[in-house]
């Protein structure tokens, strides 16, 4: 009996809706807002992706500049302890030192700072090379 009543009510409400099938204005607005939120998230994702790639490229650039400096110093004979700084472009600044130590070896260090869209990236390399 209760079951029958429930079925009846169900079919009645179904019939009541059939006359106004389709979306209401509110539903459409809600769906548009949801779509907008999704799009904004996509834009945010792309922006952060792009910044991450910039960071990685900054790291790679700093490392390659530091490597080149270490190799240049390693190809010259040992002299007195030397250090210096260099600014190769507005975005790149570099600090390096060349320190001879006993047993005809030297300690070479280089720290390169590259400015990217999301802050500065720093690569610091140290190596011991033959005099």
């Amino acid at each position: 009996m209760i079951q029958h009543e429930r079925n009846k009510r169900f079919t009645a409400s179904r019939q009541g809706r059939r006359g106004r099938s389709g979306f209401t204005l509110i539903e459409l607005l809600v769906s548009l807002v949801l779509l907008d939120i999704g799009l904004l998230a996509l834009v945010g994702l792309a922006a952060s992706l792009s910044q991450n790639i910039d960071q990685l490229r900054g790291d790679a650039r700093a490392t390659s500049i530091a490597t080149a400096r270490l190799e240049r110093i390693a190809s010259t004979p040992c002299a007195a302890t030397a250090s210096g700084t260099q600014t190769s472009s507005p975005a790149v600044s570099e600090w390096f030192t060349d320190q001879p130590s006993p047993n005809a070896t030297r300690l070479v260090a280089d720290s390169v700072r590259v400015t990217t869209s999301r802050g500065a990236r720093v690569a610091t390399l140290r190596t011991r090379a033959r005099c």
């Binding site: 106004r20 204005l25 459409l28 548009l32 996509l42 792309a46 190809s75 004979p77 090379a129």
Partner: protein, 294 residues
């Protein structure tokens, strides 16, 4: 809204949207569509720009990583540089280092040094490869070249080495090399095996310039066909796609000079460009290699 649900009789007249609702929806969806398309094109441009930059970085990084591997150990004072021009660099690359275990008539037994992580990195030798024996002299390093006629691998013990010395060599892959003259091979002498290697900037069949490598074919005693290491790069000029050489005081080594023993540093100028969907990215890198065994 509520009245519509309860008010049953004139339902048919309320079917669908009113004109105002329709207009509003159309305007809103037009705005959303405009947003979507502008965001889409912006995203695509940004990502393809990044992809192009990454591609250029890859063209440069591959060359920068591969070139130093064989160049670093080169010893110019021992005559390892055979030819140095702005487009070509030919060296004697050290392919393995070993120590003499014993020498008998016509052949020597050698134990190769382990590389990093106790891995034996020594590749197989071939007849025609050159062994360089370090003469036992305290004052100057003298390496005597011996050309090998044949080669095979053998497991065994290296009687010339004590327990701590045996830790450094690969006893399970001893070398036996056939040499015409074994007089230079004193037990415990240090030996290195070399093979010619030729780097060059060359223009490939597709019309673009690459950094290429020619390995040596000992059987035919000539270089194999050039294989690309990295690229493509810009055509050669005074500032791109060329080798530069420097002496130990940091001064440029004069190209055309034949005194290769004074070269202390090799630099390769790489200039790469890539474009995709109208975006072109250009980047350059100077690969610097200090020759460690001057």
């Amino acid at each position: 809204m509520l009245t519509r649900v309860t008010h049953h009789a004139p339902r048919a007249t309320h079917f669908g949207f009113t004109l105002a609702e329709m207009m509003l929806v159309l305007v809103l969806s037009a705005i959303v569509l405009a947003l979507v398309s502008s965001i889409g094109t912006h995203l695509q441009r940004q990502l393809s720009d990044q992809a192009t930059r990454v591609a250029v970085g890859e063209q440069l990084a591959t060359g920068a990583e591969l070139l130093p591997l064989d160049l670093r150990g080169v010893s110019p004072s021992a005559g390892d540089i055979v030819e140095a021009r702005d487009s070509v660099l030919q060296i004697r690359a050290t392919i393995a280092s070993a120590v003499v275990c014993s020498a008998s008539a016509g052949s020597v037994a050698l134990a190769t040094f382990f590389g990093a992580y106790r891995q034996s990195l020594a590749p197989p030798l071939q007849g025609g490869d050159t062994l360089w024996v370090l003469a036992d002299e305290d004052s100057v390093e003298t390496w005597r070249p011996v050309r090998i006629a044949g080669w095979r691998r053998a497991a065994g013990v290296c009687s010339a080495l004590d327990a701590s010395g045996s830790e450094l060599v690969d006893l399970s892959h001893l070398w036996t090399a056939d040499v015409p003259d074994t007089s230079a091979f004193a037990p415990r002498a240090v030996v290195r095996a070399t093979r010619p290697l030729r780097f060059s900037f060359y223009r490939a069949g597709d019309g673009q310039w690459y950094l290429g490598l020619r390995t040596w074919n000992t059987a035919s005693a000539q270089f194999n066909v050039v294989q690309p290491l990295s690229g493509p790069y810009a055509p050669p000029s005074s500032a791109a796609t060329r080798f530069e050489y420097f002496d130990s005081s940091g001064m440029p080594w004069p190209l055309g000079d034949s005194s290769y023993s004074t070269i202390a540093r090799v630099e390769a100028l790489l200039l790469a460009a890539a474009s995709s969907s109208g975006v072109t990215a250009i980047d350059s890198q100077r690969v610097v290699v200090a020759l460690r065994n001057r």
